[in-house]
């Protein structure tokens, strides 16, 4: 029995006790999966499990807090579940977690780079162990899977769910990136300060303030009352300038400091391809260095920014 068959069997078994199971199903073309909300047993057959299952289904949990919910999670998604539990935003008793050890998903923007002209013409996708064969109306492409992994998978330390009621599939090993766990930040650091500022100005210029980054984030539960959009207090102007758009990214990143579980959904959701994940990565690296802390790994942990030490080990007096 394949992992997927086992998963489907268990879902069918558990469904009568649950109001809904959130899984992945086939999307609008062979290159896309989509969240699938299973309420009836005959929907279970539609479930899929493969490297196209990029969505962090934990995003839906706070909105279904009062229901008995089953959710499928990869390693990174399970950290979001733990973080939500840590913050009291979901109820462990009403949650059933179906855990899926993961060997990485496909970053469609990297696929697009390699087949820019026919991304919209996909007819068939064959996902193999190390390669992906994509057949479009124009031609067939054979791509190496390792070239298509997003940053978060290249540095993944939690491929196996950190919380699960049922686990399907073999355990995976954490990534060991030869460039180091923060290679993306180190690449930024090779640029001068001025180059970095120009880079962000250029990137945020095409932002359309759709807030997909915010809404895709599992931890952004105040999205309906977000200070980015309220007029009282008025944090952001409505003017379409880089200043306001970059300030929104600051608000988002700062409100996630100590909470972000690096699922990367913010960047994936962006319709304009802006690398907004970078801001959260920076904060997470500082959290690791200053406090040895990673969000979403221990439901009983107290986040470092919610507490303090009278004598801080890693914050030195600045001599002023």
């Amino acid at each position: 029995m394949t992992t997927l068959d086992e998963l489907k069997r268990t879902m069918k078994e558990k469904l009568p006790e649950l109001d809904v199971i959130i899984a992945w199903g086939q999307g609008f073309d062979p290159l896309h999966a989509t969240p699938l909300f299973i309420r009836d047993a005959d929907q279970v057959e539609q479930a899929v499990w493969n490297p196209l299952c990029v969505h962090n289904l934990a995003t839906y949990l706070p909105w279904l807090k009062d229901k008995r919910v089953g959710v499928l999670v990869k390693g990174c998604d399970s950290r979001s579940v733990v973080q939500l539990l840590q913050e009291g935003l979901i109820d462990r008793d009403r949650l059933t977690v179906f855990g899926l050890p993961c060997s990485g998903v496909l970053d469609l923007s990297k696929v697009a780079e390699r087949m820019p002209d026919d991304l919209g013409l996909v007819r068939e996708v064959d996902l193999q162990q190390d390669q992906v064969e994509i057949t479009t109306a124009k031609r067939a492409h054979t791509l190496e899977k390792r070239d298509l992994l997003p940053t978060k998978c290249l540095v993944c330390q939690y491929p196996n769910p950190v919380i699960a009621d049922h686990v399907f599939g073999e355990e995976r090993h954490p990534a060991d990136p030869e460039q180091g766990r923060y290679f993306d930040l180190e690449e930024m650091e090779e640029r001068s300060l001025q180059e970095r500022m120009e880079y962000w100005k250029q990137e945020l210029d095409r932002c359309i303030r759709c807030y997909a980054c915010r809404n895709a984030c599992p931890l952004c539960v105040c999205q309906d009352h977000c200070i980015a959009e309220t007029r009282d207090p008025n944090w952001l102007r409505q003017e379409d300038t880089v200043r306001e758009k970059l300030m929104f990214q600051m608000i988002h990143a700062m409100h996630l400091a100590g909470r972000c579980t690096e699922c990367g959904e913010c960047e994936r959701a962006c319709p304009m391809g802006i690398p907004v994940f970078t801001f959260k990565r920076q904060l997470n690296r500082d959290l690791q260095e200053l406090f040895g802390y990673q969000a979403g790994t221990d439901p009983t942990a107290v986040p470092p920014l919610m507490t303090f030490r009278v004598d801080e080990e890693n914050i030195k007096d600045r001599g002023w």
């Binding site: 100005k201 300038t241 970059l246 600051m250 700062m254 920014l305 303090f308 801080e312 002023w320």
Partner: protein, 144 residues
């Protein structure tokens, strides 16, 4: 004024009401001369500091931001500055990613009786910001 070069820059200071604001008062009463670039905003405690205040100030045209509070262990509200220390250290390490020199932001601890020390802090920080020059330019960005 001591050590200042070029036209006056805009430096915003967030001072806690009890210690640093008192310290600034002490400096004032003692007629201790300081550069006039610093514009002070009084907050009840550095624990009130939201790192976003600093970022908004820098984005809106501030050339430098200073946050000053009670010494750790001496917070008027016991713990406020302990939280602030963590948040502001995180912020300081974050600024370079944006292309902002982290020397444009400092957080210090100055008590109400330390008028002389306040003078030194303001003078030194103003000089530090002047050496960096006016802030590069998110503030001056116009619509796409």
């Amino acid at each position: 004024m001591s050590g200042e070069s070029g036209p006056e820059l805009r430096i915003i200071g967030f001072l806690c009401n009890w210690c640093s604001y008192g310290g600034a008062d002490t400096a004032g009463v003692g007629r201790m001369a300081q550069p006039t670039d610093l514009r002070i905003i009084r907050i009840p405690c550095t624990g009130r500091m939201d790192p976003l205040f600093v970022l908004r100030a820098l984005f809106d045209g501030a050339d430098g931001v200073l946050v000053s509070g009670c010494h750790p262990r001496d917070c008027h509200y016991t713990e406020g500055n302990f939280y602030a220390r963590r948040r502001l250290e995180m912020l300081k390490r974050f600024l370079p990613l944006l292309g902002l020199d982290d020397k444009r932001f400092e957080y210090t601890w100055v008590s109400a009786s330390e008028g002389q020390r306040w003078q030194t802090v303001v003078t030194r920080f103003t000089e530090q910001v002047h050496q960096l020059g006016p802030s590069p330019g998110i503030a001056k960005e116009c619509a796409a």
